[in-house]
C-alpha cells in the first residue's frame, strides 16, 4: 500500500451507506469510543499528546496543548465543534459532515471523555441544510443505540450533543465569535486572553475544535498516538484533508500526507492545470493566507514548512521592507484551513485580490475601527485598481492601509484581510502597477 492509500477520515467518502450507524460499526466504528470510555482522561490526553495532532481549523495549534489549558478543578467543561466552515476555498469539513457524520460523533465522544465534558455542541454553518439533516439523523441513531445520552455504552460516562445552526456570518467561525453566537447573540469576537479553554461558553472552560481535528481522534485511540505521529512529518502528526478548487483538472477533497508539495498536489493529485495552461498563483490554506508564486510550490504543504521554508519569500509592506508579524517574526505563508485555490496564467490577479478583500470587508463584524474602516477602504482601492480606475499612488495606499490593520484588531479577521493583500502586492506588484498605469482616465485628467 502506497502512502497515498492510507486513509484516516476519507475512506468512506462517496459511500452513501457510510452515513448509517450499521455500516459505520461494521467498519469498526464506535470501537474507539468504547475503548476511550475505559481509558480515562489522562490516558487519552497522553495519546493525543504523542500523536502531534494539530488543529485543522486554521491555526494548526497542538490539540493536546490546547486541552491542557482547561483548569484541572473545573466543574463544568464544554466541548464545541467548529463546523462553521466558511473560509473561501475550504470545503473539507462539509465532506466529513455529509459522508461520515458518525466519525465526528465518535471523535466527540473521545474528546468528551478526555475533557470530562457532559454537554457538547456542534455549531454548524447555517447554509449547510443538507449536512444538518444528515448529522441530526446520525445523532438520532446514536442516541437510539445508547451511544449518546445517559451512561453511554452502559458505562458511567454521559454525553449529550446538540446541534446549533449558524445563520450566515463568516466571523462566527472565529472561536470567540462562535461562542457569542451560540449564546444567542451577535457573532462578536471577544478579546483573548482569557482563552475559551479557561473562560468560554457561559463563562465556563470550553474547548473549541474543528470537525477534522476531532475526526482524527478515533484513529489515534485505535492505533495509538505514536502511529499517528509517524504518519506525519516533523511536529505535525497524521494526514490532512486538503480541498482544492480553481483551475485544476480534478478539483476535490483529498486526504494526503503532509509531505506533499504544492506542485505534487497540482500535478499528481489534481491532474494538472486545465487546458494545459501554467500555474500563476496558489493560495495554500484558505484566502486568509498569503499566496504562493509558481517558484514557491516545491515546499511541502505542512504547517511549519509553509511558515519557515526559505524558498517562500517573506511578505513585504513595500519593496525591501519586510512585514513585521510581531516579535521579530516575518510572514511567509501558513497551512491554514487546507483550502487550496489554484489560479492559472489567465487569471487577473488584481481582480482575484479584489474579490478576496471584498469578502473581508463584507464580513467584518464592525467592532474595531481599523478592521471595519480599513477593510472598506481596501475594498474600494482594490476595486478601483482591478477595474481600471486606479489612481497614482493606489498601490502604496493599499499596502499602507493593510499594514495599518494588521495586529491592531480584536480578532484575526483584520490580519486575514491584511496578509493576503500584502502578499499579492509583494509577489505581483508589477501587475497592480500596470493596471494603474493603463487605467481609463476621465477626459481632461492627467
Amino acid at each position: 500500500m502506497g502512502l497515498f492509500d492510507v486513509k484516516i477520515i476519507s475512506e468512506h467518502f462517496d459511500v452513501p451507506e457510510a452515513r448509517t450507524l450499521e455500516y459505520f460499526e461494521r467498519k469498526g466504528g464506535y470501537r474507539s469510543a468504547r475503548k476511550a470510555c475505559g481509558m480515562g482522561p489522562e490516558a487519552i490526553a497522553a495519546e493525543v499528546a504523542a500523536s502531534n495532532l494539530r488543529g485543522r481549523g486554521g491555526a494548526g495549534f497542538p490539540t493536546a496543548l490546547k486541552w491542557s489549558f482547561v483548569p484541572k478543578d473545573a466543574d463544568t467543561v464544554y466541548l464545541v465543534v467548529n463546523a462553521d466552515e466558511s473560509e473561501p476555498g475550504t470545503f473539507k469539513d462539509r465532506h466529513i459532515l455529509y459522508w461520515n457524520p458518525h466519525l465526528l460523533i465518535e471523535g466527540m465522544i473521545v474528546a468528551a471523555v478526555a475533557l470530562k465534558v457532559r454537554n457538547a455542541y456542534i455549531y454548524i454553518r447555517g447554509e449547510m441544510a443538507r449536512e444538518n439533516k444528515v448529522l441530526q439523523a446520525a445523532l438520532d441513531q446514536a442516541y437510539a443505540k445508547g451511544y449518546l445520552g445517559e451512561r453511554i455504552f452502559g458505562t458511567s460516562t454521559s454525553l449529550d450533543i446538540t446541534v446549533y445552526r449558524g445563520l450566515g456570518a463568516y466571523i462566527c467561525g472565529e472561536e470567540t465569535a462562535l461562542l457569542s453566537s451560540l449564546e444567542g447573540g451577535r457573532g462578536w469576537p471577544r478579546l483573548k486572553p482569557p482563552f475559551p479553554a479557561v473562560k468560554g461558553l457561559w463563562g465556563k472552560p470550553t474547548i473549541v475544535n474543528n470537525v477534522e481535528t476531532l475526526a482524527n481522534l478515533p484513529w489515534i485511540v485505535e492505533h495509538g498516538g505514536k502511529a499517528f505521529a509517524d504518519l506525519g512529518s516533523g511536529r505535525s502528526g497524521g494526514l490532512r484533508l486538503v480541498s482544492v478548487c480553481g483551475h485544476v483538472n480534478k478539483p476535490g477533497v483529498f486526504e494526503l500526507p503532509l509531505t506533499v508539495t504544492g506542485r505534487e498536489l497540482i500535478e499528481d493529485v489534481c491532474g494538472g492545470i486545465k487546458g494545459g495552461r501554467k500555474v500563476k498563483g496558489v493560495i495554500p490554506g484558505g484566502v486568509s493566507m498569503p499566496v504562493l508564486a509558481p517558484d514557491e510550490l516545491d515546499v511541502p504543504f505542512e504547517f511549519d514548512a509553509l511558515q519557515k521554508d526559505e524558498r517562500i519569500r517573506e511578505v513585504e509592506v513595500r519593496p525591501g521592507q519586510k512585514f513585521d508579524l510581531g516579535g521579530n517574526r516575518t510572514l511567509r505563508t501558513m497551512a491554514g484551513s487546507g483550502g487550496v485555490v489554484v489560479m492559472d496564467d489567465t487569471t487577473d490577479i488584481t481582480q482575484a485580490a479584489w474579490r478576496i478583500i471584498h469578502f473581508f470587508a463584507e464580513e467584518s463584524c464592525g467592532q474595531c475601527t481599523p478592521c471595519r474602516e480599513g477593510t472598506g477602504w481596501l475594498a474600494q482601492v482594490a476595486h478601483r485598481i482591478a477595474f481600471d480606475h486606479g489612481r497614482a499612488g493606489d498601490v502604496d495606499l493599499l499596502a499602507s492601509i493593510a499594514d495599518g490593520i494588521a495586529g491592531n484588531t480584536i480578532c484575526a479577521l483584520g490580519d486575514a484581510a491584511a496578509w493576503p493583500t500584502l502578499a499579492f502586492l509583494t509577489k505581483y506588484r508589477d501587475e497592480f502597477e500596470a493596471k494603474v498605469r493603463n487605467a481609463h482616465r476621465p477626459k481632461g485628467a492627467a
Binding site: E85, S86, E87, P88, G89, T90, F91, D93, R94, N119, R125, G126, E127, M128, A129, R130, N132, K133, D160, T162, Y164, R165, G166, L167, G168, A169, Y170, S181, L182, E183, G184, G185, R186, G187, W202, S243, V244, C245, G246, H247, P251, G252, V253, I283, V287, G339, V341, M343, T347, Q351, A352, R355, I356, F359, E362, E363, C365
Partner: protein
C-alpha cells in the same frame, strides 16, 4: 402540552403568532441549555424558524420572538440584523443565491451572476418585477471545487437542502426557467 416553566406571557401581535411547530421545537431544545441560558440561546433558532413561517423578520416577528423567549426586543433586533440568512425585507417567492467568491469567480461565477441579473432585470439584492425571484450574490458556500454554486430558498416553505453546482449558462437557464414556472428544479440540485 406542559409549558416549560420559563414560559412568559406573549405580547399580543395582531395577526401574527409563532406556529405550534416552533413551540414544539422550543420545548425540545430548551433543556439542552443550562438553567437561565436557554431563552437567549434559542434566539437564533427561533428567529430562523419564524422567518420560515412568516417569510422575513420584521419588527413584529422580533417582538413575538422577544416576548416568547423573555428577551428584549433590542437584543433580538441586534441579532436579526447581524445575520445574513435572516431577511430584513420580504424576498421574492424564490431567493436565488449565487456564490461569486474566489473559487467560483475563477471558473465563471460572474458570468452566471450577470446572466441572472440580465434575465431577471435586477441588480444584486433586487427582486424581479413580478415578485418571483430575489437575486443575491453570496459568499463561499463551502463547495468551491464544484462551482459555480447557488442555493435556492422558497419563501414560507421548508428550506431546500440542496446546492446547485457546476453552473454554466445552460444550467442556470434551466434553473431560471423552472423558477419562472413556479417550480424549484430539485432534479438539478445535489
Amino acid at each position: 402540552m406542559a409549558r416549560h416553566p420559563s414560559f412568559r406571557a406573549r405580547k399580543a401581535v395582531p395577526g401574527k403568532e409563532l406556529s405550534t411547530q416552533i413551540e414544539a421545537r422550543i420545548q425540545q431544545l430548551w433543556p439542552r441549555f443550562p438553567e437561565g441560558r436557554a431563552g437567549q440561546a434559542l434566539c437564533l433558532p427561533v428567529l430562523y424558524l419564524a422567518q420560515e413561517q412568516h417569510g422575513h423578520v420584521d419588527a413584529e416577528v422580533v417582538d413575538l420572538v422577544a416576548a416568547r423567549l423573555g428577551l428584549t426586543s433590542a437584543h433580538v433586533t441586534g441579532v436579526a440584523t447581524f445575520y445574513f440568512m435572516l431577511n430584513k425585507v420580504r424576498p421574492g417567492r424564490y431567493h436565488l443565491q449565487v456564490c461569486t467568491n474566489i473559487g467560483c469567480q475563477l471558473i465563471g461565477a460572474y458570468d452566471v451572476f450577470e446572466r441572472c441579473k440580465k434575465r431577471l432585470g435586477v441588480d444584486n439584492k433586487g427582486t424581479s418585477a413580478d415578485g418571483n425571484v430575489t437575486l443575491t450574490e453570496v459568499e463561499c458556500l463551502a463547495a468551491c471545487g464544484y462551482g459555480p454554486v447557488a442555493q435556492i430558498a422558497e419563501r414560507e416553505k421548508p428550506e431546500i437542502p440542496l446546492y446547485f453546482e457546476n453552473l454554466d449558462a445552460t444550467r442556470i437557464d434551466a434553473i431560471l426557467d423552472a423558477l419562472a414556472e413556479g417550480r424549484v428544479p430539485t432534479e438539478l440540485g445535489s
